[in-house]
């Protein structure tokens, strides 16, 4: 095995130009794909933040006695997908409204009767923050006899979910396209390297070298190229990210979520993918070349 590594490293040094071309190609592709991944991760964070804000407001019918409130609360809390349910009496709701209206609160003070209903503010669990599940939960709550009306902002939630799914699909499609493009480019550059060394390979075969003996260093080369290309691509992305974060005056916070670099797991995943691409490119070229 050490011999294969030595041969792979020696081969990389002997064919510096071709190897540099391959590594740069991988690095550029990884830069583009990981830039998209960075965007995706951050959009995902923003969406996650929005999703956390999803509340279901269940308004009670007028005249529900106080002793029944805890029963209704228990019923709602026992429902699947409900994290917790807080009771907001109509007096408390009015106080909140007054606070929110500040200067215009005098308008409310003039009211003879509190027009607001008693309500439950229901927070959902993370797993149930999908449009269909929320809708089902809302319908179940609404079916309780004491509940007059349920609100959960379904319109924007629907649009939001659709955009999210579209972005996800775009991400996968772009990732797939780049994956194919990179494999194609890498396999071609490796084929060029192999072509330049066809005599060497032929001599190896004549002296009794097995296909495994010939292939192993190329595979190691492919993995090294993939790893180096991946690291360089991600470093370039990190430098660009830092430059944009610190030197360009953009409001990256969007007021609610901070933009962050790729998490370590994604970072490692991209390098592993890059190594896989190097290996696969090598596999495809060798398969054809050694036929």
């Amino acid at each position: 095995m050490i011999l294969y590594y030595k041969r792979a490293i020696q081969d990389i040094l002997d064919n510096r130009f071709l190897n540099a071309v391959t590594i740069i190609t991988i690095a550029i592709s990884i830069l583009i794909v990981s830039a998209f991944a960075l965007f995706f991760v951050n959009v995902n964070d923003i969406m996650g933040y929005w999703k956390k804000g999803i509340r279901i407001m269940a308004y009670l019918k007028p005249g529900i006695p106080e002793e029944k409130i805890s029963d209704i609360k228990e019923k709602i809390q026992s429902m699947n997908g409900v994290q917790d349910a807080g009771f907001i009496s109509k007096d408390e709701a009015l106080m909140r409204l007054k606070k929110q209206m500040k200067r215009q609160s005098s308008l409310i003070e003039d009211l003879k009767e509190n027009p607001l209903p008693d309500a439950f503010e229901i927070r959902t669990t993370t797993s149930s923050q999908i449009k269909d599940i929320i809708e089902r939960l809302a319908t179940r709550i609404e079916s309780l006899p004491q509940i007059d009306e349920v609100e959960y902002g379904q319109r924007w939630l629907g649009r939001f979910t659709n955009i999210f799914n579209l972005l996800k699909l775009t991400g996968y499609a772009m990732g797939g396209l780049f994956f194919m493009a990179v494999v194609f480019i890498v396999s071609n550059t490796i084929r060029l390297a192999l072509y330049s060394r066809r005599e060497e390979v032929a001599i190896m075969r004549l002296v009794g070298a097995t296909d495994r003996f010939i292939k192993a260093p190329f595979y190691i080369e492919g993995l090294i190229q993939g790893a180096l290309g991946g690291i360089i691509g991600l470093l370039a992305l990190f430098v660009t990210f830092m430059f944009i974060s610190y030197n360009v005056e953009l409001d990256l916070s969007f007021g609610f979520s901070t933009i962050r670099f790729l998490p370590p797991r994604v970072f490692c995943g991209i390098i592993l993918c890059s190594m896989f691409v190097g290996w696969l490119g090598c596999y495809l070229s060798l398969k054809q070349f050694l036929k």
């Binding site: 011999l3 001599i203 002296v207 009794g208 097995t210 003996f213």
Partner: protein, 241 residues
């Protein structure tokens, strides 16, 4: 189908034909080569000498007929076993076939590396073989800076380093001056005395004359056909095949 092996034969060819399209390179060759024999395949350019050698190490496949090497029928050998068959041979090519980007040491060591030998053994063995061919001082040189004679000596070193049973040499002295040719021939004779079978394809009468003491067989090829067999000792017709 030929299955029974003459016990003293290491190479057997039975009615072998080789065609390249319409061109017939070899026609109905039947030939037995015994273990530890020193044999010349002699003929003019285009007679089919190189093709005959290629059929032995599966550089080419026969169009018709059968070839048995050490009891192995080459028509039936699986692709995966070909490298192991080739390890039975030490092949010396007319154009040396050395890897230009690898040092003399690496070129010779390649055979042992392919066989999966340990590094320490390889170091020792390669140095010893290079000493035998008088090239120990050129260990770290690259082949292109060496003379033709030196490159051929490296090719001989590479051919013998794996202690093969059979040496196949295609015009081993074709591009060399007389002194260099003598050195190469001497190396081949020495390896033959150690028990190897040596098959040399050549058009060089002088080379055959120089080995007259060994009394090796000379097989004459002409236009792809076996013409006759003589001995290097007599230089005259000995028997017809």
């Amino acid at each position: 189908m030929i299955e029974n092996q003459n016990k003293s034969s290491i190479i057997r060819m039975f009615h072998v034909h080789k065609d390249y399209g319409a061109k017939k390179a070899l026609i109905d060759i039947t030939l037995d080569i015994s273990k530890n024999e020193f044999i010349f395949i002699r003929g003019p350019s285009g007679a089919g000498k190189t093709t005959l050698l290629k059929l032995l190490y599966l550089g080419e496949t026969v169009s018709k007929g059968q070839v048995l090497i050490d009891g192995i029928n080459l028509s039936r050998i699986p692709r995966k076993r070909i490298p192991f068959l080739r390890r039975k041979y030490g092949i010396i090519f007319q154009d040396y076939k050395l890897i230009a980007t690898k040092t003399v040491f690496d070129n010779v060591a390649l055979v042992l590396e392919a066989m999966g030998k340990k590094r320490r053994f390889i170091e020792k063995k390669v140095r010893s073989v290079l000493r035998t061919v008088g090239m120990e001082e050129r260990l770290h040189s690259l082949p292109p800076i060496l003379s033709g004679g030196e490159q051929q000596r490296i090719a001989v070193a590479r051919a013998i380093v794996g202690d093969p049973k059979i040496i196949l040499a295609d015009e081993p002295t074709g591009n060399l001056d007389e002194d260099s040719a003598d050195i190469i021939l001497d190396l081949l004779k020495r390896f033959h005395t150690r028990g190897a079978t040596v098959v040399i394809a050549t058009h060089d009468k002088e080379l055959i004359r120089k080995t007259s003491k060994t009394g090796g067989r000379v097989v004459h090829l002409k236009e792809g056909c076996l013409q006759k067999t003589t001995t290097s000792e007599s230089g005259s017709d000995d028997s017809l095949l």
